[in-house]
Symmetry: C2
């Protein structure tokens, strides 16, 4: 299993991230994305929607949920959002 979440930023390309998500879940049961801020959450959400399209022809969907994650970055408390996406075989 992949232990570290994929870190997503406001400049992350959603299509590229979707490709990475699709590749990971072909091999394993789930993938996690971690974001701080509205721009990053936007890119992660788009990537999730795009990845669903990439995987649909293989009979795979991605269902999941968001959670808050408390972090310390440079000694400051920050709250990130983490998406946990699970592979779901359909059709």
């Amino acid at each position: 299993m992949k232990d570290e979440p994929l870190m997503v930023g406001s400049k992350t390309n959603p299509s590229s991230l979707a490709g990475a998500i699709a590749e990971i879940v072909r091999d394993q049961h789930y993938v996690e994305l971690q974001m701080i801020g509205a721009g990053a959450i936007n890119q992660a959400t788009k990537a999730w929607a795009i990845a669903r399209g990439y995987l649909a022809p293989s009979g795979i969907d991605l269902v999941g949920f968001p959670a808050f994650v408390d972090l310390q970055i440079d000694g400051e408390d920050r709250t990130a959002i983490r998406f946990t996406l699970f592979r779901k075989n359909v059709g």
Copy 2:
């Protein structure tokens, strides 16, 4: 079933929206949220995470997925994101 998605904006209060989500899914199987833009997606994502916390003591979780939705608003083509959240009984 509720036919119309909940419309979420960048000024939507995540805690209030979470309360509305929790109330709906106590009665029915799913709820849909519709957003245009990063600010709205941010608020919807936070509301989803908060609603999971509201529902957890009742043994309910919310799993779901995002999808793109093509809209026409004032004659212009816009792309919205829609979250579909399903009630999942746990524990």
